[in-house]
Symmetry: C2
Subunit: 140 residues, 2 copies
DNA sequence: TTAATTGTGCTTCCGATAAGCACAATTAAT
DNA sequence: ATTAATTGTGCTTATCGGAAGCACAATTAA
């Protein structure tokens, strides 16, 4: 699970970790602690908790604190899409409304178009549910 | 022109610089040296030359070395799209064919889908020619 | 009361990318 | 021919966003 991607554009660790975690939760069908998930996903519990919170805010998972607490899916794998996860994880999607209002107009226009393009990406990823995604995988 | 974007996904300096440079070349209608473009775009000549070479390989611009040399558009602004530029600049698009063949299958499948998504982004950006893009800008 | 867990502030570390220098090769002006 | 300007590129250094990781308050159940 070490990050081997050299792309800046796509596939930051957060997204990969998030998908892994959700797939694990789906497979287990129960509640899992950050430590358990982290060990499976070769990540770190603290980092994973932050990722999980993004997913929590998006209504994809929920958490229970205290002893015997952990994370669990709030939706079925058939209801969660990769687009939902991307949207939840991707920092730009969570930024305030005021994006680029400084800088030259050429930058502003370019930024607008790139944001539109990113929405297209999310729409495309909505075509894949976690259930469908898991069907593509031969678990070892 | 300092990089103000906090997104990892979209809008790396290279892309912004490339678009700026092409717009400048289009406006000037002539050949410009890396030093000239760099000063306009608040970048650095060396970095800009590397960016320009990516564009050159993509057939978007061409260069002439030696004294009185520089860069010039090889296509008209109406023939160059933002998708072309993205494709030329984006590192992943230029990588060798062998992408992710190591790692777990879940990573491989995810990577495949994310690459498909990136192609969608490029297709979307093909809808904007530089000519159209420049029409959106009020040059000061 | 104790143990396990989330959520989060904080600091440190790391890696990818940009900055920037240097210079060979090239090309045109003089 | 000589000189000046320019690309292309190898190399080193600097920068910076994100991840790693510690610590601990708050919470919750054993």
């Amino acid at each position: 699970m070490r990050n081997t991607s050299r792309s800046v554009h796509i596939g930051p660790p957060r997204l990969k970790i998030a998908v892994h975690a959700i797939v694990w939760l789906a497979r287990s069908g129960s509640m899992l602690s950050s430590a358990m998930i982290a060990s499976q996903v070769d990540s770190h519990a603290t980092f994973l908790r932050r990722v999980m919170q993004s997913l929590s805010h998006a209504g994809i998972v929920d958490s229970k604190g205290g002893r015997e607490g952990g994370y669990f899916l709030k939706k079925s794998p058939a209801e969660i899409t990769l687009g939902d996860i991307y949207e939840a994880i991707c920092p730009v999607c969570n930024e305030s409304e005021i994006k680029v209002d400084c800088g030259e107009q050429i930058d502003i226009e370019l930024e607008k178009i790139l944001q539109e393009a990113e929405l297209q990406t999310i729409e495309y990823l909505r075509h894949y549910t976690i259930a469908q995604f898991m069907d593509r995988i031969h678990f070892s």
